[in-house]
Amino acid sequence: MQHKTLFAHRPIRRGRRTLGAAAAALALMALAACSAPAASSSGGDSGEIILGRSMDVSTLDPERSLCDSCQIYNGAVYDTLLAATTADGDLQPLLAQKWEANDDNTEFTFHLDPDAVFSDGSPVEAKDVKWSFERLANLKGDPSYFMAGVKEVAAPDAATVVVTTDAPNSAFFNVVTAGYTGIINSDVAIENGATADKDAAKTDKAEQWFLKNSAGAGQYVLTSYEEGSQLVLSENKNYWGDDKPNFKKVVIKDVPDASTQLQQLQQGDIDVAMQLSFDTLDQVKSDESLTSEVVPTYNYVYLGISPGAADAPKALDDKRVREALRKAIDYDTVIDATVAGQGSKQASAIPNGFEGSDGLDVPTYDPEGAKALLAEAGASNLKLEATYPTFTIYGVNFSTMFQSIQQSMKKAGIELTLNPLDYTAWGTKFGAGELPLTAVYFAPDHPDAVQYFQYFSLAKGASWLGYSGLSENTRETKGVAKALTETGDARAATYSELGQDMIDDAIILPVVNPQVILAGGSNVSGNNYHVTRNIDLRQLKFTD
């Protein structure tokens, strides 16, 4: 008590001084906080556009990369021979101004645009194309499959490239619209440790160089990349095309959280938000300072069934049981639960809008039909475990999706247990073919539907032939080979037949084909979803 009095009655000069200094320091910080956001000039004034997205960059070496963000980067920095607009749409010239194939579709000739130059001003020559394609194949990296079946790349003269394939491949022109096949300035890359030799997988040392530099002929060049922060591109002042870059600087800012993307868009800290959640759609639409549009995509999430997995119930070998699983999913409810109804059902592994998808029947929820099929197959009271990665992709949260599927399957008498795993743990099991039932996602590489048969069918060489553990479906193997000899309507008809074959396999059960919200500031126009570039910066503009 004595001390309380002692403190209470006497002045404490030095104490006050100390308190004052501390208060002043904190006041300074508080002032800084309140004066906070530096007055940033609008994007339109500065020619700088900022895109916000959750970045999934695996690398900036275009020939080792495979990710959605890489598609944007590669498309902006490394021009390809040809360009695509939509799935199965007309191809546009880019580095190649003319192109033709032989009658067999085994030889593809590209005539390079004589005006085409790399960002350092040196001409794009046939040797660069040959080197780029050979490196892409020999690195044995993630996108090396783009060069599968390529026997030889020849450069008979500086302006002509001839690609020969082992077997007919009428999809090849579509394949070379993918950003991963972008052309690299070979002289510059070689100087910095890159090689296209047969042993490139072991001897190429250029990946770190590509993380800090670029060597393409696209509209933009790499300025800087800070993993987990942002990717900065600046205009290629030597850009050779007629369509000059719309921006002096493009910043792709890593904003992992969808709600933070919206907050930053509303505050003007980003100009385009690429992955907004559908939960916020009403808020976005009602905000007059924003522009927004909901458009369909070619992305989708599917269930994959592997009857050959070690722990798979024997019943999965029976097609009727797998068909019953397809009928036991309440697609509408799942789409409501995951993307607030902003998605579509999809018939087969060919996404809506791609060649071959028309005319195929979309699945419907039929729990009684599923029960009947299970009973017919002697698999009533089926018990299954679904093992899946715990993430959200294209707005679809896998846990939410499976909880919804679990409920709908219950009505069909199927007991589904859920086993969510961290991505790496899941990937380890998935790669080893140990998962009887899982969920994965897919986004197109290029505008040709053949990629879906090469990955999802039971044709020879298809990835899911391995994952499923089933035997090769020779009809599909022949169908894919036949389709690649064809063009036009004949090929579309074959693709459609293959789509039906994949439905009959009942290995891949597409669940949701989500749409996407294109949201931007009110001064942004041309916001888009692009089949090979994710977003095409050539269409994006400031209106002021």
Binding site: H3, L6, A8, H9, P11, I12, R13, G15, T18, A22, A23, A25, L26, M29, A32, A33, C34, S35, A36, P37, A38, S40, S46, L66, C67, K140, G141, D142, S144, Y145, A201, K202, E207, Q208, L211, E226, E227, G228, K253, D254, V255, P256, D257, T260, Q263, Q264, Q267, G268, D269, D422, Y423, T424, A425, W426, G427, T428, F430, G431, G433, S463
Partner: protein, 336 residues
Amino acid sequence: MLRYTLKRLAIMPLLLWGIVTIAFFLSHSISSNPLASIVGTRNLGNADVVAAATQRWGLDKSLLQQYFIYIGNLLHGDLGTSFRTKEPVASDLSSRLPATLELALFALIIAVVLGIVLGVVAARNNGRLLDGALRTVALVGSSTPVFWVALLLLFVFYARLGIAAGPGRLSSRVDPPPHFTGMYTVDSLLVGNFPLFSDALSHLILPSIVMALPLLGTVIRMVRAQVLEEQSSDFVRTARAKGMTPSQVTNRHVVKNAITPVITVVGISVGMLIMGAVMVETIFTWNGIGTYAVEASRSLDFPAITGVCLVGGVIFLVSNLVTDIAYAIIDPRVRL
């Protein structure tokens, strides 16, 4: 004290070797395969791609071979290359550590300065309403989930009121200063760019407040308790009897004695602040070592995981040593 310091410094390499070894074998003991994150989902079943990646990243070698190669490289200052970022781990750490250090430093300043001031104020008002209010603040600060406070502050002060800086270390369309220390506030001052300094400082406020809250609560409670205890000491009565004013007694004796235990808490907290910055960094998109550590763990990026453990070990060992020395300097009764 010099002998003690040298002795502690001498055993540090041994401790770090232990940390690295434990981190290396512990991370490799997980049954998952890092190739699942090195190779894209699309190619997990592609034997050629998987084989090339296995060889490229040295995962075809036995665990012991990998360990000895790692230790050999480490002795040459090479922490390996990150499976995920594809950059040298040393380079990754050196670019991210300053961001976290800057954040932790500001959080520490807030927690210590405010904590001592409020702790003394609480003690002076022992039993009164203000004391109760400050004790409540301390309790709330210590017990409220960091992520909740972070999201709340961002929502209110950034998204709704627009008076605070948002996520990130700088505003959009503002370029970072030239790299000297990697701390934007320091680097901007070094080049005399005061608007940039102000911008960097403004971005530090919300995350550093959030980061400081748990420690602030601890410091308030500790200082309050220590001040109250010291006030009833004999030396305070003696000092008063000798004619010293209450303020002189407080400033020269009570506070000095009361903050000695705080030094220990703060010293230990430095390491915890830096290595525990994950949540704050994630919410505020602060590209520091916390988010790096999380991403490394999620993708089983062995070189990065071991590198983070090594840096964490150095931070803890150094901060503990500095704490011990500071303790001895402030309290002459302590002999090292």
